[in-house]
């Protein structure tokens, strides 16, 4: 079971109270981008066996979007944070590195 903490409600809730919406921190290639960039933005998603950054919505609660950093294998959650950011916050990265020294943040 995946337990996420909604940063807006401050409550640890079970997965079924949320809606998962895939990879976070996508760069939105629009006007002036190449076909390749646009295709990548639309269709290409990472699917790592390990640390993932995802978008979630507290759909049965406050209705707010947020981001979560977790491990796709063990379901360990390293933290949830505001969606109003382009990259994971430093404290979340530090937490992941502390627990998974071999992990490298890739852009």
């Amino acid at each position: 079971m995946l337990l996420l903490t909604c940063p807006y409600c401050g409550v640890e809730a079970e997965e079924t109270e949320f809606l998962g919406a895939g990879q976070a921190h996508l760069k939105r290639h629009m006007d002036g981008s190449t076909d390749g960039e646009f295709t990548a933005y639309l269709f290409e998603r990472k699917n790592p066996k390990g640390i993932v950054f995802e978008r979630w919505r507290h759909v049965y609660g406050c209705g707010k979007w947020f981001h979560a950093a977790r491990c796709a294998v063990t379901l360990e959650v390293f933290g949830t944070y505001s969606a109003q950011t382009f990259e994971p916050p430093k404290d979340i990265i530090a937490k992941i590195k502390a627990k998974r020294p071999e992990w490298e943040a890739k852009p």
């Binding site: 807006y8 401050g10 079970e14 079924t16 049965y60």
Partner: protein, 185 residues
């Protein structure tokens, strides 16, 4: 529990009394609740401070960081409340009458918690969920919000379109002999 006339449907056949309330007047207010001037205006207007995260006090419930649910007090109307809110809150805001959008239920009985615990994925023990707490979650597949009116009474709201489904669900969940009576031990 208010008087019997305020209920449209009551089922007392189960271990917990399930009752559907008639139209309850309520207003949703959307605005930035961290704004100090707004908070002061709300306090002046409603006579109660903005409730803390996931709390309900004096008929005002915390729905989200930018949303309140205001039960319209007796003697007032949603229209009057909305007019007052519009006039007194200077920040960007929206107040809407949601009375017809909501169905309100009362669950009364010592094991009222057990009925909700069958469908809501949250900790409903007395330690984790007490009077004054307000929780939006799901019950079965239905988006709901509920709070403890008293130690043995829960008020639950959901969308009006699901009124009958929710009533039947609650009656079914409250059947005699089906409650483990674990949470009140």
């Amino acid at each position: 529990m208010s008087d019997l006339m305020s209920f449209s449907e009551i089922d007392g056949s189960g271990a917990v009394l399930i009752a559907a309330q008639r139209r309850v007047a309520m207003v949703t207010l959307k605005t930035d609740l961290s704004n100090k001037i707004t908070r002061a205006a709300i306090k002046k207007l409603l006579g109660t401070t903005v409730p803390a995260q996931r709390k309900i006090a004096n008929g005002v419930a915390w729905m989200a960081p930018d949303e309140l649910l205001i039960m319209v007090p007796e003697g007032s109307t949603p229209e009057a409340q909305i007019e007052q809110l519009n006039a007194n809150i200077k920040a960007p805001m929206l107040a809407v009458d949601v009375s017809d959008a909501r169905a309100v239920f009362t669950l009364k009985g010592n094991n009222a918690r057990e009925v909700l615990a069958k469908g809501a994925p949250i900790d409903l023990s007395a330690d984790a969920f007490a009077q004054g707490d307000f929780r939006r979650t799901r019950l079965g597949q239905v988006a709901v919000a509920f709070w403890m009116e008293a130690d043995d009474e829960i008020t639950l709201i959901c969308f009006a379109s699901l009124r009958q489904f929710m009533f039947d669900w609650l009656v079914n969940a409250a059947q005699k002999g089906s409650l483990p009576a674990y949470l009140n031990r």
